[in-house]
Amino acid sequence: MEYIIKSEALSFSYDEDGNGKKTVENLDFQIERGSFTAIIGHNGSGKSTIAKLMCGVLEPSSGEIYIDSKSAGRILRVSCDEDIFDVRKTVGMVFQNPDNQLVATVVEEDVAFAPENLGVPSAEIRKKVDSALKAVGLYEYRTHDTHKLSGGQKQRVAIAGILAMSPECVIFDESTAMLDPRGRDDVMKIIKEMRDSLGITVILITHYMNEAALADRIMVVNDGKIILDGSPRNVFEKNEVLSECGLEVPQSTELVRKLYDSGAEITKTVLDTEEAAQAIVDALEKKYKK
């Protein structure tokens, strides 16, 4: 596989001298270019730290993260000072609180902030801003006040701000935690669209298991280590392991699994409500026709 992000013996400690407890310990992983990866783990498991390391907000205590940047035309190292600007251009990040990441008072000015700082010519900025706003469905709102938008809309402005930098990878750090169901839905649709139509690599950190179920791959982080890594179906099948580290499978998966464990003739692992309903109806039908 062609990787965009690769970590080697990655460790990080919030202690200055690096001797204290390691938040992230000796991690090796690769993120495939163009893929959608979800990272899950309990509060304090180290998943946000990993995200911040991947986009150069934090510097590894030891080990290295390599970013294969098409725009820079070479492989970058996050701990290398000369590479850090290119790292941040290649890998963007959307945070949790929509109120903390908007800098301008008008939607389109906010979206233009990053390309302006990157010294993009102004005609080009116009184009980038317009297409980014169209991608998140807020083009009609381009002259609105940012502070009067709903949480979901603010989060979409923040995403547009990242898209305007033409990143190759975007990391979402619990970006749906403060949104209502429709806002969450909108953001998840945009995330899938970014991967499918724009070919952007997406990494989603979330506590919502039904969001993680939409990814190609789930990485489960516990105490700074990756303890499970695979397709959603493979990961959710190991419900005991998830439960041990304070996580749970989606309720749809849980219900069907309980029926399976009690001896029902039913699929073992389902991922969403549709699949669960289908599996249950099939099982009921079998029983009914007997």
């Binding site: 209502d180 309720q251 309980k258 249950i280 009921l284």
Partner: protein, 298 residues
């Protein structure tokens, strides 16, 4: 009991940005119950919360606490804030004292209570949210996210409000943290006439922990009642940007598909909203021998 009687609240009155956040709303929050408030962003939930303890004064209509208007005078409004305690979203951002103990004591101190009573309340509140004695002496800024959240909630509980209003108390917590905090909080009303109001975007949490649900839409009330009553308004909820709890969604789909295929299915099962209820019903229908799997398989 809190009663809203024809309450409206308009932001930016007499400006071009005038907007009614709450529009002629009437409802009651009953003693001894957990009431969940759901609604899309901007539906007026948080405005309702702030109206409950006179942080906002209604543009028209009245808010009554046990029959008395809470906005009758400044003094009454002030006292109301000790009876109706609000825990805002992300309350950990409001921690400010040197130690967790002092932070929790801030509310009771302002109430003018004596030292022994303050101490009793701090210990009670800390114990209630699950904060150990050692943590009480440390700085709130050294705590983990989950501990900070609990410390901040303890600060409101220490005032022993009659009504505890929580805006998204579990947002940003992992699944175990969510169920732990919600489980503890809903115990606050047990064996007393105290009541709890939980504002949340999580339909699963609201369904599981509430006795009553109030669904808001565009500043008005969309529907209210027990969780099964409210979640039987499937189409209205979806149209207003809300959702059904996952289990209700599944059971609804199962019911529709069963009808298509001529398989018998009880309509009442379609409004189940917990894994356990759905499991019990289906296990019985599938004639599963053991219900051993009834232990929560997380």
């Amino acid at each position: 009991m809190i009663e809203f009687s024809n309450v409206s609240y308009v932001y930016g009155k007499h400006t071009p940005f005038e907007r009614a956040a709450v529009n002629n709303v009437s409802f009651k929050i009953e003693d001894g119950l957990v009431t969940g408030i759901i609604g899309h962003t901007g539906s007026g939930k948080s405005t309702v919360a702030q109206l409950m303890n006179a942080l906002l004064t209604p543009t028209s209509g009245k808010v009554l606490l046990d029959g008395a208007d809470i906005n009758a005078s400044r003094e009454i409004s002030y006292k109301t804030r000790f009876k109706v305690g609000i825990v805002f979203q992300y309350p950990e951002y409001q921690l400010f004292e040197e130690t967790v103990e002092k932070d929790i004591a801030y509310g009771p101190t302002n109430m003018g209570l004596d030292e022994t009573e303050i101490k009793r309340r701090v210990e009670m509140a800390a114990d209630f949210v699950g904060i150990s004695k050692e943590i009480l002496k440390s700085s709130p800024f050294e705590l983990s996210g989950g501990q900070k959240r609990r410390a901040a909630i303890a600060g409101v509980i220490a005032m022993e409000p009659k009504i505890l209003v929580l805006d998204e108390p579990a947002a940003g917590l992992d699944p175990r943290g969510r169920s732990e905090i919600l489980g503890r909080l809903t115990k606050y009303r047990q064996g007393s006439d105290k009541s709890i109001v939980i504002i949340s975007h999580s339909m699963e949490d609201v369904a599981e922990y509430s006795d009553r649900i109030l669904a808001m839409n565009d500043g008005g009330i969309l529907c209210s009642g027990t969780p099964s009553e409210v979640f039987s308004h499937y189409d209205e909820l979806c149209r207003s940007g809300l959702a059904l709890p996952q289990i209700t969604n599944i059971m609804n789909l199962v019911m529709k598909k069963c009808k298509e295929r001529g398989i018998p299915f009880d309509n009442s099962a379609a409004s189940f909203f917990t894994v356990d209820d759905a499991y019990k019903y289906l296990a019985q229908r599938l004639e599963l021998k053991s219900e051993e799997g009834g232990n929560t398989v997380c």
